[in-house]
């Protein structure tokens, strides 16, 4: 693609995006925006998880710890202790607490 030609075309401003937006209903525009936002968050979550696994592998190499346990420990460090307890208490996990 010729970059100069693209830049020349851009001088006229954005055409396709606004035209597409004006042709859509509001609910459709909202749905498209929502799916874009979700995809961006999903990517961010994947990146965070990937980084955690990389760090867990480093820790496992340094300490000889199991890499899966190291990853879980790293994840648990990111949440407050009471939430760790909520995840660890079986009754709470099974949703049997009346007001948990």
């Amino acid at each position: 693609m010729n970059k100069n030609a693209v830049a020349l075309g851009r001088l006229g401003g954005l055409k396709g995006g606004p035209a597409r937006a004006s042709a859509l209903t509001k609910s459709r525009r909202v749905a498209i925006a929502r799916s874009g936002g979700l995809a961006r968050w999903r990517n961010l979550d994947l990146r965070i998880r990937a980084n955690r696994w990389i760090r867990a592998r480093q820790i496992a190499r340094q300490t000889g710890a199991d890499v899966e346990v190291a990853e879980q420990v790293l994840f648990l460090q990111t949440i407050p202790p009471w939430e760790r307890l909520a995840r660890g208490l079986m009754r709470s996990r099974l949703g049997r607490n009346r007001r948990a």
Partner: protein, 153 residues
């Protein structure tokens, strides 16, 4: 009202607050203590290890939140409406005296705004190793690995 992310019932949280407000010396032990310190385990209840000779204080603290302290049963129990995930422990296998362990215990915010003493993870491992019940033996590899990982973090 506890946060929905707290695994304890509101009655159990009130009981813990009442125990912490009274001059009662106790700490969280067992798998609950390990979980609070990032070990990826599961448990049925929260074990609380109490110093001896606190029966009157314990009874009062329990009654303040509508619970009962059954000191005559062996092991003693705390019971009451909405309270069934808290266990009383008098002796812990493989550990030193209560006072010695209490001195080295960590402080952890068990529920928002409530900090309790918690037995360190290496001591939990020692007690599980000494207890030797099948469920304790099953937890040993995970605790060992978690301890190793935490040293590397």
């Amino acid at each position: 009202m506890p946060s929905p992310l707290v695994g304890l019932t509101s009655e159990e949280v009130e009981l813990l607050r009442s125990l912490a407000d009274a001059p009662i010396r106790f700490m969280v032990v067992g798998m609950g203590a390990a979980i609070l310190q990032n070990a990826p385990g599961v448990t049925q209840d929260l074990d609380l290890w109490f110093a001896r000779r606190q029966t009157d204080l314990l009874t009062m603290a329990c009654e303040r939140v509508g619970a009962t302290y059954y000191w005559r049963s062996n092991p003693p129990q705390i019971a009451g409406p909405g309270i069934d995930q808290i266990d009383v422990v008098w002796n812990c296998d493989g550990l030193r005296d209560f006072e010695d362990e209490y001195e080295d215990a960590h402080e952890v915010e068990v529920v928002p705004g409530l900090v309790l003493k918690v037995l360190p993870l290496d001591r939990v491992l020692a007690s599980k190793r000494a207890a030797g019940r099948p469920k304790d033996k099953a937890a040993l590899p995970m605790l060992r690995e978690a301890l190793k990982a935490l040293k590397g973090i």
